[in-house]
């Protein structure tokens, strides 16, 4: 699956309170949460996003609370992919479970500038920077998680076992 979109760069240690502040956690509706995505980083941040855009995060992206509302809010804002230096552990699991594509690229995050046009190949883990012409290879997805993804996510994986 390929995704092409404009990169929106955010810093290191972006926490889940920045992604979706707790006062908005009175709903689990993706559209409602999406409207307030990154409201804890900057008021009205989400207005810059066009559907299909890509988020480029720094170190430890998604640290803090376990709220699954965070990946849901990112998806709800129209962003299908997050490329980051590294991800916080709980967010990483949540992203996969919600169908948000996450690619870990370490220091290569420096090769992406705000506003760059990116092409992400989720299957191969290859990221083309269409603006600079560079190519970045992400770390492979752990095998067991790839297996869950191949079955269509955790919900389907469990569904096969409970019925």
């Amino acid at each position: 699956m390929k995704y092409t979109g404009k990169a929106h760069k955010v810093g290191d240690h972006i926490d889940t309170d920045a992604i979706i502040p707790a006062r908005f956690l009175v709903t689990s509706d993706p559209f409602e949460l999406g409207k307030n995505c990154f409201e804890g980083l900057e008021e009205g941040w989400v207005n810059r996003v066009s559907p299909g855009d890509i988020l480029a995060g720094g170190k430890n992206f998604g640290c803090g609370s376990s709220r699954e509302h965070a990946p849901i809010a990112i998806l709800g804002s129209g962003i299908p992919v997050v490329v980051a230096h590294s991800f916080a552990r709980i967010f990483y699991r949540n992203g996969f479970n919600m169908g948000l594509v996450l690619l870990e690229i370490g220091d290569d995050i420096e090769k992406i500038n705000n506003g760059d046009q990116l092409e992400v190949n989720a299957a191969s883990g290859e990221i083309k920077n269409l603006t600079s012409g560079g190519v970045i290879k992400s770390l492979p997805v752990p095998e067991f998680m790839a297996e869950i993804l191949a079955r269509g996510g955790l919900v389907n994986y469990v569904r096969e076992r409970v019925v």
């Binding site: 502040p21 707790a22 009175v26 609370s65 376990s66 509302h69 990946p71 955790l154 469990v158």
Partner: protein
């Protein structure tokens, strides 16, 4: 193979062989937890999975503690959804209203978690039970839905960082200061994907509530779990709470650690995490004059009876500064009752504090203590992210109950010994 605490506990619950770090293992869960914010999403995922019953009605805990007493219509609807689900599934451990407290103070108090358990919760501070020697960690709602349906989950076996706290802390230095010091040292991603294992003379002497305070903040260094051995103190504590057959657990001699850190607790000052990350830690004496508008004593980190006792001891006979709102939230109804019986509540009220019900409330900027722009708060909670407690232009400093009480009186962040 010699095992770390994490490997040892996982092995007890797994049919897979728990060997080197990095391997994925499936484990049976001893307790599965969610709250009024995360359970509604878990319930949706549970239904989508086609599940129609929880794996064990006695091993699921649903605690409505975050936006409770319900702060608005939307949060009341969320609690209603959890309540109806609990009834439908006949969940034994459903807590709401006067039975509910802050989940990570409540479950240990009720003897529902203990040494050797594998506990997963849709709340990042589930790691608190590491203080009791449980492999306990936070996950998202859908992972928790899977665990509620199957009674199992998967883990990547973590590498472990062993942290040795030697020495004897000064009388104004608490477990909160030790964990803040560590987070300041290794950073908010210093233990990313890893387990923290605590040991040393300062840990051996520490009481259970202090251990839970430290384990609680393991996540603030990015750790999967923050583990303490289960020793005689653990066994006595858990037995007293009604946990069945608690046993001692220690890491094996010769277990492999990815890093060892030695910290001397002697001579340490009270520690403060400054805005806007828990690793921006400084000794209280190095802060300079920082005036505050609010002080919060409570939460899953420091809302237990020993925390209230410490704060009351400091504030007794003093008045809360007229420019400060001092909010005290006992973490559970039992703690509240105990504080009443011991006269602590009276001490706080006489000093001019606000006593609130058990709730997570202000810690996450939910309700009962929201900050306006430009306001500063010293809190005994666990996170000081930008905007965490209210306005994006507000600031949160994290410290111990002793510092909290002294700060409420002084109106600025001070060393409790200086009051």
């Amino acid at each position: 193979m010699a095992k770390t605490l994490a490997q040892k506990i996982l092995q007890r619950h797994s049919l897979d062989e728990v060997k080197e770090a990095g391997r994925i293992v499936r484990c049976k869960t001893s307790m599965v937890l969610a709250n009024d914010i995360t359970a509604p999403l878990a319930i949706d995922s549970f239904r989508k999975m086609g599940a129609n019953k929880v794996f064990d009605r006695e091993k699921v805990a649903l605690v409505c503690d975050h936006f409770t007493p319900n702060k608005d219509i939307d949060s009341a609807e969320q609690v209603k959804k959890v309540r109806l689900f609990a009834r439908e599934m006949d969940v034994v451990h459903y807590y709401e209203g006067g039975n509910a407290g802050v989940e990570h103070a409540l479950l240990p108090e009720l003897g529902l978690v203990g040494p050797g358990d594998v506990v997963v919760g849709a709340d990042s501070h589930t790691c608190t039970y590491g203080g009791l020697g449980a492999f306990a960690t936070g996950m998202g709602s859908t992972d928790i839905a899977a665990a509620m349906a199957l009674g199992e989950t998967w883990f990547k076996v973590p590498e472990t960082i062993r942290v040795i706290f030697a020495g004897k802390p000064d009388k104004y230095v608490t477990s909160k200061d030790l964990i803040l010091h560590l987070i300041g040292l290794i950073g908010v991603d210093g233990a990313l994907y890893r387990a923290l294992e605590f040991a040393g003379t300062a840990i051996d002497k520490m009481e259970m509530e202090g251990r839970m305070t430290m384990a609680n903040m393991a996540i603030e260094a990015g750790a999967k779990v923050g583990l303490f051995s289960s020793d005689q103190k653990t066994v006595a504590y858990c037995r007293e709470k009604g946990f069945e057959n608690p046993g001692e657990i220690f890491p094996d001699e010769g277990a492999v650690y990815c890093r060892e850190i030695d910290i001397d607790a002697s001579g340490m000052s009270p520690q403060i995490a400054c805005p806007h990350l828990p690793d921006n830690v400084r000794a209280v004496d190095e802060l300079g004059s920082i005036r505050v508008d609010q002080v919060v004593l409570g939460s899953c980190t420091n809302g237990r009876i020993s925390d209230l006792r410490q704060a009351a001891e400091i504030i007794k006979g003093h008045k809360v500064n007229r420019n400060v709102r001092f909010i005290v939230l006992p973490a559970t109804p039992r703690i509240y009752e105990q504080a009443l019986e011991e006269g602590l509540i009276s001490v706080f009220i006489k000093a001019g504090a606000i006593i609130g019900p058990p709730t997570c409330g202000p810690c996450l900027g939910g309700h009962m203590g929201i900050l306006a722009s430009g306001e500063k708060c010293l809190a005994t909670t666990n996170r000081n992210f930008k905007g965490r407690m209210g306005s994006l232009e507000s600031e949160v400093y994290l410290g111990s109950p002793l510092v909290a009480a002294a700060t409420a009186v002084a109106g600025e962040i001070i060393h409790p010994g200086k009051l």
